[in-house]
Chain length 706, copies 2
């Protein structure tokens, strides 16, 4: 009979009407396919016992019931009292004597402990949210086929604020969104609560995300109006049980635009009072409101400099209004003026002098690199340079510069490269990670933000593998010591299958994908050579931008002598913003690894690199290697997609073909263009561009998403 049962469940899991459309993300909870393991799990899990009646514990109860029923193929219910095989969940306080002795001090406010005792599994923590995180961790163990007989583990987040930034506009368009449109259906809020809101919260809670900024940093002041606060409050109500707080991007000029004031000067008492009143109003709608994210005096946004005040003046005004409610300000350091100064240097120049001037509840949010989320960037020179200020790091999950949602790019290798980079701010080992987790300078405010790649596509992220980057952001924010390999492994097992014939080759493909991307787009330290405005495709020739530093030619500086941006002392001297130890790695042609070369040096075309190739030849080979890398991904996928569902197999196959085409386009267009300067032939094995340079220059994409 059991065999019959399993057969039927198999039939149902394969049922074409319930296709794998990707909506379930990594929380699929399908029947455990390993028969021995299933038997083992069934033996060790007989039911659940939940203590606590909060909305968070209700969420834990629902998740456990649904997940265990799905994975074990039998109905898992609450038991009136614990018995052998009971999964017990509750805070230490609620569990009381059910909990054996043992400290929970290491789990903090959001962490958890899972342990097996007397044949029961206990999931606990100091708070309901901690318990919920533990529940998701336990389910992850099952989904990834880990043993659960004798568990004893504790976990607590290494970073306090783990946040998704949505660049979502109130009309549901998304700036740099490639997975459809905003999942926030503002018009129907607050009356209509899309089921997706709950599933969004579940997904985030499962990876430890605890905050979401609902609206674009290029903000509309209307988002702070009562009508929209009521809508945001409805979302906050959905998210609250999952331990997720709502934040809003604040438009600095809102006191003028919606408050009727004549100024937004942060030193103006009326302005200060307006924000105090506004914050009070916000907390009347959202009692646990998280705070503001602010983009000020950047790319046309208003800010304190409009009134001769500093970023600190602006941030502190908001921080003072938020402080009574324990809200925070995340003030972005992504600023650059229309000057002749190297854009690389401007954020540092503006912010470093302000170190020590910010209130305790302000974090300065710094992008991973000094330019703008390029395929590869050196770590931002502000990391380590503002010891008296908590710095958050901002990564970009949406692939603005990384092929949109049609390229398979697994970003954790890039994230790790930055997090593990050594600033030498307090000597060797002063990694970026230690700056942002607060440990280097003893800050308690610490944060990681990811610009979300989420839209209303059925599978959330457009590309099925885009989900991995969302997943990884949460996992890394919780524990940045996790390696890209570990994260890819657990994501693949939950999202696709535990079959190692699939997991191992696909993991290898993911781990190689970022370097691949760098190769076919911006090898050897090239950066910012994409199409103008929409950022789709290559346009290294573009020089018609409204500002010099919006032009690719500003960044690559190719000429008959060579290519690259001299940021040494003979050039912009941006390198001087790093500590001597840090800058040393890049400072000379000899010391600088090939992959960073053109970030810091203008290099002759025939210069011999560490690889032994001339610059021109190496450039050609890297572009070609990138394209070949995509071809390898296509080949791998064709071999292993048989182990997963037909729908996603076909989706990924189509997307890889697009990526292959576009990788070839990048190679051909860039080499055709750079060859006009290098004036050297393509080395053996590099195919001639498919079209003339003029063809590539004339391509227009007026309707590409942007």
């Amino acid at each position: 009979m059991r065999k019959y049962f399993l057969l039927l469940l198999l039939f149902v899991n394969l049922h074409p009407l319930h296709a794998e459309d990707g909506y379930r993300l990594w929380l699929r909870y399908d029947l455990i396919t390993d028969a021995a393991l299933l038997q083992d799990y069934r033996t060790h899990i007989s039911g659940i016992y939940i203590t606590g009646e909060s909305a968070t514990m209700a969420a834990a109860r629902r998740e456990l019931t649904t997940a265990l029923t799905g994975m074990l193929g039998k109905t898992i219910q609450e038991q009136p009292k614990p018995q052998g095989g009971t999964v017990i969940a509750g805070t230490a306080t609620a569990l009381g004597p059910l909990l054996p002795k043992g400290s929970l001090s290491a789990t903090g406010e959001e962490g958890f402990r899972i342990l097996t005792t007397a044949g029961r599994t206990i999931i606990t923590g100091n708070t309901d949210a901690g318990v919920l995180h533990g529940v998701f961790h336990f389910l992850r163990l099952l989904q990834t086929h880990q043993p659960i007989q004798t568990l004893d583990l504790s976990s607590a987040p290494g970073i306090r604020y783990r946040i998704l930034d949505h660049w979502d506009n109130l009309n549901r368009t998304i700036e740099r969104g490639y997975a459809g449109f905003s999942i926030w259906d503002w018009h129907k809020l607050p009356g209509y609560l899309d089921r997706r809101y709950t599933d969004y919260a579940r997904a985030n809670a499962s990876i430890g995300i605890n905050g979401t900024v609902l609206n674009n940093v290029n903000a509309n002041a209307l988002s702070l109006s009562p009508a929209y606060l009521e809508k945001a409050a409805a979302l906050a109500n959905v998210f609250r049980p999952y331990g997720i707080k709502v934040y809003l991007s604040a438009r600095f000029s809102a006191p003028i635009e919606t408050g009727g004031l004549k100024t937004a000067d942060p030193q103006d008492p009326q302005v200060q009072q307006w924000w105090k009143d506004k914050v009070k109003e916000i907390y009347s709608y959202i009692p646990d409101f998280g705070g503001f994210l602010v983009k000020a005096n950047s790319e046309g946004q208003p800010g304190p400099q409009n009134y001769g005040r500093s970023h600190a003046d602006g941030a502190n005004m908001l921080a003072d209004a938020l402080a009574p409610y324990k809200g925070i300000v995340m003030w972005r350091a992504f600023v650059y003026s229309n000057t002749n100064e190297d854009r690389f240097k401007q954020a540092y120049d503006e912010f470093k002098p302000l170190d020590g001037q910010f209130r305790d509840n302000v974090a300065v949010q710094v992008k991973n690199g000094p330019i703008d989320f390029q395929p590869r960037e050196p770590f931002h020179p502000l990391f380590g340079a503002m010891p008296r200020t908590p710095l958050m790091i901002e990564f970009q999950l949406t692939q603005e510069y990384q092929g949109f949602a049609t390229h398979l790019v697994y970003m954790p290798p890039q994230f790790r490269e930055v997090l593990m980079a050594d600033t030498y701010a307090k000597g060797k080992g002063s990694t970026v990670a230690k700056v942002i987790d607060g440990s280097l300078e003893g800050h308690s405010l610490s944060g990681i933000a990811g610009v979300a790649n989420i839209g209303n596509d059925r599978n959330w992220t457009g590309h099925p593998f885009g989900q991995a980057n969302w997943y990884a952001l949460g996992r890394l924010a919780w524990d940045y010591t996790l390696t890209p390999d570990q994260i890819a492994d657990e994501w693949l097992r939950q999202t696709f299958t535990n079959d190692t014939r699939f997991v191992n080759p696909v993991k290898a493909m993911m781990l190689a994908s970022h370097e691949n991307l760098v190769n076919y787009m911006t090898p050897l330290g090239l950066h910012h050579i994409m199409g103008y405005g929409h950022h789709y495709g290559p346009a290294p020739w573009f020089d018609k931008g409204a500002r010099a530093d919006w032009n690719p030619v500003y960044f690559h500086r190719a000429d008959s002598a060579g290519i690259g941006f001299d940021r040494t002392a003979t050039g912009s001297n941006a390198l001087a913003q790093y500590t001597p130890e840090a800058r040393r790695q890049w400072a000379t042609l000899d010391s600088c690894p090939d992959i960073w070369l053109l970030w810091f040096h203008h290099v002759p075309w025939n210069y011999t690199l560490h690889s032994g190739n001339t610059l021109w030849n190496e450039l050609c080979k890297r572009y070609e290697a990138g394209v070949q890398g995509v071809q390898t991904m296509c080949n791998t996928w064709d071999k292993v997609s048989q182990f997963v569902d037909e729908e996603r197999a076909e989706q990924v196959k189509m997307l890889l073909q697009i990526q292959l085409t576009e990788a070839g386009w990048w190679r051909d267009a860039c080499l055709a263009y750079f060859q006009t300067f290098a004036k050297m032939p393509l080395p053996a094995g590099i195919p001639a561009p498919a079209h003339t340079l003029e063809y590539y220059k004339e391509l227009q994409f007026p309707l590409a998403p942007h």
Copy 2:
């Protein structure tokens, strides 16, 4: 064992991970829940046998296999040869001797015949598309729990062109779209084919839709460029097996905008040649391209009148280019100039004189009423007035004027009211339906178009009940003699459940919903009194529009003497555009039914209506009745939603609450405003408005979808 099997399938159907999110529309194919019927179907269906290897027959094979497997709870496979219980599908030619004698002449090119013979069910037709339609009909019989033991039925469409018009822009916004954004992901086409495209085609084929206009009538000339033709061709390839052709909205000035010409004058030989070349190019991408839909010289769109030419000149130029390929032109009659003439009359005035001047492959597409898809409109006076021209009718499924996607409004009663209206063009019985099906004047070109209410919301139409209007459009275009009751019945059974405890009360609620809407929005013949621009909510006071006839005050004409638009001989005399017999019903206060009154008469506030109430009192009572009708829907739903899945039950509940709130808003705002003219008290039982008139006037919705 069978009991165990059924229990398991039930468990699976209720599995929360496979929620009823509405994506499956009316093609759910879940296990037949009536045990006796399931037994009966299993006895009569043992397998399938498909003759024919075309893509269309492959689609039929997939659909039968999936659907029968799902509904019967056992794997249904192809059999090597027919036996007892085989469902046989193929064209008459392909079936050969398998088909008993009997004529298929009545089924035409797209119809089908289904009959039981020798214990087998045969689904056949003259074409593969006909067979596919038959397959969907057979599956509908099963899904609605009809007997299938002794079938013998034939069906053929009463209308030749059964079309959805998408007002979708190339940037994926949708004009008047309330269910998310365009399902056409232009940027990822042609490389990425969303599974949704196939499901869209399946859904349409199942109801007999055979054409889709991909892009907005306010067209972008880029949609005719090679890059976008390649994308449209990819969609056409997906739709073709389902008997669905692709059409495009053509921008009349495309020869200038993308062709580099200085004019778009239809008499200019270069322009004519440009369109001939363009059409040839289109057919090189899409060999079965359907043709053009054109909005010309209307609301700012370019057209032949820009060059002193007529609509016929413009349409004929395109028709000549399309004729060699059997393409058609659908030329819209929705035109009105910024003049003092009653907007009601302008389309008739412009088009009637052109009767007889259009090519054979041109249809003039006329909206159901003379203004613009109002909750209720009299039939358009052009119907019956252009005997030598095929007229298509255009309905609007997207609820621009009917509460967006948050109001439950089942539109077939409105559609039927228009289709069954008598034009008296050739004496009694000259219904609008007979005009548009071509039978009145012997036209072979006949068509019904619906402006789609489809977006990328998970459930396609935003409101789960919006699906019913899409469904009904197809079913009515196939057979307009189907009653709203019949269509609601079959839609509910397929989409929700066959449980009559649910079907009967919900059907009654659907059938009453349109009159309800008219009551709480625009009772007694009021029209066009909604918010400016976005058309959200009431704004009868609005008088600041850029043109007079964009203002509500233009249409209701309320003053101290009364309310309503005098369209008799003492007024605009629009009534003269109807035949004497048709106009008689509306011509005098005495003859005019209350529901049409203010369309045609300016009526004193204290005039006594047929109901016995004064106009003012009746107006108040109708508004209140509309609100109470929504309350009744809420109550009904609360009682019966237990019979359906929790997810959609909750969705509809939330939406009904929004509808109730907004119905009250309409009542309160309109009565507060009209009372300033009527200067009479609210009759007993009508609640005072919740807010002051000023409050309603000051409401702003800058970000409402539009």
